[in-house]
Symmetry: C2
Subunit: 247 residues, 2 copies
DNA sequence: CGTCCCCTTGAATGAAGTCAATACGCGTGG
DNA sequence: CCACGCGTATTGACTTCATTCAAGGGGACG
């Protein structure tokens, strides 16, 4: 059930079998499945549960009155919404599925129980939320300072490494369910220009992206192009996710 | 001491006199003063204390290898760094003073004591950290979708309202210690273009900005120009900060 | 009172957006 | 099994918003 979350947390804390059971059973309680492009929660709604992505991708986004849309973050397998959102009266952004997604709804009460009784998980969740904030800051940097090629390259690096951390990328390959329009909305570029930049990266033999599958042929080069450094992901324990896998 | 923080928190929770005493004495423990443009903490440092801005402004920023700089957030009076940063081995960004700033250093231990014993403050601090994340998302939207004029207008709205919430803006006027270069680094624009946009807003009689002092002549208009809605600041209880003050 | 930033303004350049037309691919239904 | 149709990807030509370069003026602070 919660393998991706467990895989991710283990980059920071060592979980015992019992901890994993706790997470798995919390994730089994209430599971919802979504088709591509369905709303999961909308701006203005009252938040009541914490969503955990079990498989597939989702995104947070905000709209401007005139229709412009910005994706402000991606939810990959193992990603959680803020575990204390329900303090707020209403959502200031929306969340929608990208491909097919399955999401576990975790109640505030279940979370409280974890915080009370499971120290290692709690530590892991704190770490996770700090990393989420660091990612949001890095996106600010990305949009503010990097040019189009750098921006796309950086985003691809980040997503690829996060997928590895979640244990859902094999070797140089990962599932990549988002369309170019989504990349455009996430990087603040026009879809046309996203297309051109992707071709540029393909021509350089750094990546290939066909059939909803991303292959990173040369991660080192991609990181250079995107001026990517992984420090903000805080993968401190030896950071296995950063080295090209041995097999 | 901690008036600004108290003023801010009271927009979400009702604090009792005792709560205020607790915050004031925590803020009195260790106070550091900085001159303009001094580093408060640098990327790579090990975080050990939580900084609370008592007066003046500071900013978080990140550098790219080639020197480009992005300000990812501003710290106004009453703003706190993440109260659990010290989980992380090292900072992924730097913080520096803008004008003259005084900062209280609060120890993790002092924070733990507050979380243990002071429910209302704890609620307020949770709310504050959720708002900080919402602001970071809004900046992502700002950089990704808004054009130059909208971007500057939006940022000015946000800062002005946050200053009111902190109780340090009077009527239409506030101290505004940042230079145009900082605005440029925060909005991802060139300093030259920031200058032009500011003039545009001055010519429209919406703001004036002289002598490190910002006057917002027409907040409503500025909000329209910046496509600004304050929902992400989650000022739910009547939101006095949003109405032009009666006096 | 002098010096150093910072602000200001104009002109030339450039990166990315817009517009528009065509091609592809996938799922549906005949 | 193949034809149709919609949404997505692709490509080229033109436009625009913002950057860069450059030079001059002003204000704050020691």
């Amino acid at each position: 059930m919660a393998e991706a979350l467990i895989s991710k947390l283990q980059h920071f804390v060592q979980l015992l079998p019992h901890d994993k059971d706790v997470l798995n059973s919390a994730a089994r309680e209430r599971v919802r499945k979504f088709s591509p492009n369905e709303p999961i929660i909308l701006e203005g709604d009252k938040p009541t549960v914490i969503n955990l992505v079990l498989s597939g991708w989702a995104c947070r986004y905000k709209h401007l009155e005139d229709g412009r849309r910005q994706i402000v973050s991606f939810f990959l397998p193992g990603d959680l919404c803020d575990h204390n959102v329900f303090i707020l009266r209403q959502m200031d952004h929306s969340i929608a599925s990208i491909g097919h997604v399955s999401v576990a709804e975790i109640t505030p009460k279940a979370f409280d129980a974890i915080f009370e009784n499971h120290y290692r998980i709690t530590q892991g969740l704190w770490w996770d939320s700090l990393v989420a904030m660091a990612i949001q800051r890095e996106w600010t940097l990305n949009l503010g300072q990097r040019n189009a090629v750098e921006r796309i390259a950086h985003l691809l690096c980040e997503l690829f490494i996060r997928l590895r951390v979640a244990g859902v990328a094999r070797d140089k390959t990962c599932s990549f369910p988002i369309r170019q329009i989504d990349l455009a909305d996430a990087t603040g570029m026009s879809p046309v220009h996203v297309n051109r930049v992707l071709h540029e990266l393909r021509d350089l033999q750094v990546i290939s992206l066909v059939n909803r599958t991303l292959v990173v042929h040369d991660l080192k080069r991609l990181m250079e192009i995107g001026l990517f450094t992984a420090n903000y992901l805080h993968l401190d324990r030896g950071a296995p996710a950063l080295e090209p896998e041995s097999r």
